[in-house]
């Protein structure tokens, strides 16, 4: 479990280091990210070969102590986080270096970004590994706060306002979650994840689960509770947006998936409620993305839609003890994380080159399409879920399961959502494919930057992941039910 310890602790220590020595913040960040990547891969490899792992912290067994649980699902999430983290770190380095603003501003951004980002990473890792609901509450708080910090980093009025709304909503969500934890404690007298199946048996326990899901819905920006999210995700700095959209919301989604897996067939009603909300979110997010005028906003609304899709996948999954449908949700999360991070990084680069992010102004005549736009396009393919991406495989598994059950309404919704996502993403990609009269003969081409590499790398990974889906699926198959 050394890897798990490293994953849980290292980012925090590095965050302190980065905060204490702002000049070396980037180095702290990069080192921690790379070690984090290595550790997550090692952990995944170990789980692949040796099965699930569990460690009681301080050697105090649960429920009194807190256990770190590393199973296939956790490993997938950790690896996903680590991969995105690496790309984000690369982008953030270049972002910090080329930011056109003054030196003091830059150093403040750097000094602020790395501790917050490392704390986010640490919180995510801790969340994915945690086996205790209250502990998860605390990780959520770290996650929420650091994410808000990332949102507010640019210091613009919009981002601050968004950050405040984000934090207020997040806190309300956390408190609802905490209320759920309290009720869970009231129902079964303990709060570790292993107690979740017992919760189903009593009304109080189920109510606790309901509240927990409600809290998670806020954190995950599930449809009617997404109000804080587009503004936050669209006003943050590119690297920060990537983290927020790709990873932070995944924390809550992961937990929702984890709880549905633990709770099994007992919470069908809640799951269906989730699925309905997810479907609504998918449609609403897509609709708003179709109408968005700004690129970042479009991408942010696309996150709303994708969260809806993932929630739908979590909600409609069969009883996890009998079917592997939930793996679709995990795969969708994975795919979305990679693709959305790539997309935000690409959008950051595009906006940097253009000086704005209005969709209507994407086809400028004095600028040739660059790598970032290409990366955006590839990421879009993943997000839509076209073959051979992991998103496609995820949808495949989902539809496969739904067909077995004859749940045609859900299938129709799913396909409708896919079509909508294609519609709004093609709005952008089509403009990225400018040429002919839209490009002046002497138009310049954006230079290669680290951020491009990061975006392209992530996007390609997302694309190729479909062909390599066997790996995450094998990991997931091993997850204890």
């Amino acid at each position: 479990m050394t890897e798990a310890y490293v994953l849980a602790l290292l980012p925090f220590l590095a965050a302190v280091g980065a905060a204490a020595t702002p000049r070396m913040a980037a180095i702290w960040g990069l080192c921690a990210t790379l070690i984090n990547l290595g550790a997550s891969i090692l952990l995944a490899a170990r789980i692949l070969s040796g099965g699930d792992m569990r460690a009681d912290l301080g050697d105090w067994p649960a429920p009194l102590g807190i256990s770190l649980v590393a199973d296939g699902l956790a490993a997938v999430m950790l690896s996903m986080t680590a991969i995105v983290a690496t790309a984000v770190a690369l982008q953030a380095m270049s972002w910090g270096l080329v930011q056109p603003r003054g030196g003091q501003q830059r150093s403040r951004l750097q000094a602020g970004f790395w501790p917050l980002w490392l704390a986010t990473l640490g919180a995510l890792n801790a969340l994915f590994l945690s086996g205790d609901l209250f502990n998860i509450y605390v990780t959520f708080e770290i996650l929420g706060l650091s994410a808000v910090g990332l949102t507010a980093l640019t210091g613009s009025r919009n981002s601050l306002r968004a950050a405040f709304d984000y934090l207020a909503a997040g806190l309300a969500g956390s408190l609802v979650f905490l209320l759920g934890v309290a009720l869970a404690y009231a129902a079964v007298g303990r709060v570790d994840l292993a107690a979740v199946p017992a919760l189903v048996d009593t009304a109080t326990g189920r109510l606790a689960l309901g509240l927990i899901f409600a809290g998670l819905a806020v954190k995950a920006a599930l449809f009617p509770l997404h109000f804080w999210m587009p503004a936050a995700h669209s006003s943050a700095a590119p690297a920060a947006s990537a983290v927020l959209s790709a990873l932070v919301v995944k924390g809550a989604l992961y937990l929702a998936l984890r709880i549905t897996i633990e709770a099994g067939a007992g919470i069908e009603v809640l799951r269906i409620a989730l699925a309905v909300l997810g479907a609504a979110g998918m449609l609403w997010g897509s609709w708003m993305a179709l109408r968005a005028e700004r690129l970042k906003l479009l991408v942010a609304y696309s996150t709303v839609a994708q969260i809806g899709l993932i929630t739908l996948a979590i909600g409609v999954a069969d009883d996890p003890s009998t079917s592997a449908m939930w793996q679709a949700a995990a795969l969708l999360m994975l795919s979305h994380a990679l693709a959305k991070a790539a997309m935000f990084l690409a959008v950051g680069r595009i906006a940097e080159e253009l000086g704005h992010d209005r969709i209507s102004g994407l086809n400028r005549t004095d600028l040739r399409p660059g790598v970032a736009e290409f990366a955006f396009a590839i990421a879009a393919v993943s997000l839509i879920g076209l073959p051979p991406t992991a998103g496609f495989i995820g949808k495949w598994l989902l539809i496969d399961g739904l067909i077995d059950r004859g749940a045609w309404v859900w299938i129709a919704l799913l396909l409708g959502g896919t079509a909508l996502s294609a519609a709004y993403l093609s709005r952008v990609v089509s403009r990225c494919l400018r040429g002919g009269p839209h490009v002046a003969p002497g138009a310049r081409r954006p230079e290669w930057r680290t951020g491009d590499v990061a975006a392209l790398g992530l996007a390609t990974t997302a694309l190729a992941l479909g062909l390599g889906s066997a790996l995450p699926l094998t990991l997931l198959n091993g997850t204890a039910l």
Binding site: L386, W396, L397, A422, S430, G435, L473
Partner: protein, 490 residues
């Protein structure tokens, strides 16, 4: 080593694509070299593969994706048919495109996606199961889109949007159908005479629904009647794109998909059992007539050709749907024949546009005098389309007609006759204008047509003649399709 041939064939274009995309715009020689090398290599490899397959070789490559989901490449006779078409035509069109885009913008992007398209086509040809087919089918959608909007005008973007809407919609239907079929039957490999076992007895309704979904999915690309709207619009693309992709690769991918579904997934007997052939044939018939009727009124040359494509591609569907071996031969042969004929027409049309700025039928006056070579190629292509013997189109029509009679469907003859009349009605006026009208006063802009533009249409025109004249010779398209059909109908 030989087992890896399918992979090698796929990789010649799949690997070329990112390399070309990454090449700087200026590096013209390098790009051209890579393009031509890859294309030549592919022709060679496909030739090798055809010989191996004709000798009874079997090629199977698998990669596990998820439990029950394999990426599966195979090469059977039907694959080779489509492979040969795309490889040869890719080669010619690449030469043409290099000449056509001389001095144009974004050539790296163009050729990159061009290669990707061919990779997708090749993948479709060699897909060993429905899942793999689906993957490459969607890849084709994506790779074609940048080519449709390549010019970057508002019109091309609109066309691109509509193209995407149609093809992605079709993709959804195809995906749903595929997943459903997988849910019912497990892995769905392509094998002669179908793979569904006793499902037709146990789940006939579901199979029918799946068939509809699958056909709707591939029918978009095959431009079957209500799903054909994208094709004429996407003619805003540069000529080589219209030529190779919209005349050959994309629509043929759809037609090929119909073949695979009918022959190698469902099998002829199942299709017959479920009573699915007649509606499909009816749909094809409607498309044949509708496309031709619409073509009559088009003044834009490429649009007229596009509607003609809609009509002609459905011959293939018709041949498949008639469920008679002879008709199947006709349909399959038409896959090749229509390909070479339509590509000739498009390449020639591209030359008209390039050399004289002529893009409409009404501006074709005197073209035979101005650009005799291209006009001769165009003429051969048109006559072939009408079905004038001894050109390639006649051969497929003849087999289709005989097959229709074999299947007890004499109406097919009427259909073919009507379609031929309509074909003549929209092609002959073009020929008339080109050959028997005087060129307009005030000489139009004349640009030099280099050999790169002149040779490919001439070559394909020669192929049309050869395919018709030497239809009975071994290794002719007809001969090969007979071989395939002998496997599908025993």
């Amino acid at each position: 080593m030989t087992e890896l041939l399918p992979l090698a064939i796929l990789m010649t274009s799949l690997c070329a694509a990112p390399i070309i995309l990454a090449i700087p715009e200026r590096a013209r020689t390098l790009r051209t070299t890579i393009n031509l090398t890859a294309a030549t290599l592919k022709v060679g490899l496909v030739a090798w593969l055809s010989i191996a397959v004709a000798a009874g070789g079997e090629f199977n490559l698998r990669l596990g994706i998820a439990p029950g989901l394999d990426l599966h490449l195979q090469a059977d006779a039907l694959s080779v048919l489509f492979l040969a078409l795309s490889a040869v035509l890719w080669f010619l069109t690449t030469i043409y495109a290099i000449g056509y885009l001389e001095g144009g913008a974004d050539r790296s992007r163009f050729f990159g996606f061009f290669s990707l398209c061919v990779a997708a086509t090749v993948g479709i040809a060699m897909a060993g199961n429905l899942f793999t087919f689906l993957i490459f089918f969607e890849l084709l959608t994506l790779a074609t889109w940048p080519l449709v909007v390549h010019r970057g005008t508002a019109e091309s973007h609109r066309a691109g949007r509509i193209y995407l809407a149609y093809t992605l919609g079709g993709g959804l239907a195809l995906t749903l159908g595929t997943v459903w079929l997988y849910a019912l039957a497990g892995d769905v490999p392509f094998a002669p005479r179908g793979v569904l076992g006793d499902l037709p007895q146990t789940a006939p309704l579901a199979l029918t629904a799946i068939f509809v979904l699958l056909i709707a999915g591939v029918g978009v690309k095959a431009a079957l009647f209500p799903l054909h709207g994208w094709l004429p619009l996407s003619m805003v693309a540069p000529a080589p794109v219209s030529a190779l992709l919209h005349a050959v690769a994309v629509v043929k991918a759809g037609a090929f998909g119909i073949m695979r579904i009918v022959y190698d997934v469902y099998g002829v007997e199942t299709v017959q059992l479920l009573g699915l052939a007649a509606p499909l044939a009816a749909l094809a018939a409607v498309t044949i007539i509708w496309g031709s009727v619409r073509a009559l009124t088009q003044d834009d040359l490429k649009k007229r050709l596009a509607y003609s494509t809609i009509s002609q591609v459905s011959y293939i569907t018709l041949g498949v749907a008639l469920l008679s071996p002879v008709a199947a031969v006709g349909g399959l042969a038409h896959l090749i024949h229509q390909g070479i004929m339509k590509i000739t027409l498009f390449l020639a049309a591209g030359n008209f546009a390039e050399g004289r700025g002529v893009k409409t039928v009404s501006a074709m006056d005197g073209m035979g005098r101005l650009m005799p070579g291209a006009t001769i190629a165009f003429t051969i292509g048109s006559l072939g389309m009408i079905g004038v013997p001894p050109l390639a189109g006649f051969v497929s029509k003849w087999y289709l007609g005989s097959g229709g009679l074999d299947a007890g469907q004499p109406m097919v003859i009427a259909l073919l006759a009507g379609s031929s009349l309509l074909n003549a009605a929209y092609f002959l006026p073009i020929l008339y204008r080109a050959w028997f009208r005087d060129p307009p006063e005030g000489a139009p802009v004349k640009r030099r047509i280099g050999w790169m533009l002149a040779v490919p249409p001439a070559a394909t025109a020669a192929l049309i003649l050869a395919a018709g004249l030497l239809a009975n010779a071994p290794f002719s398209p007809l001969g090969w399709t007979r071989f395939i059909v002998s496997l599908e109908y025993l």
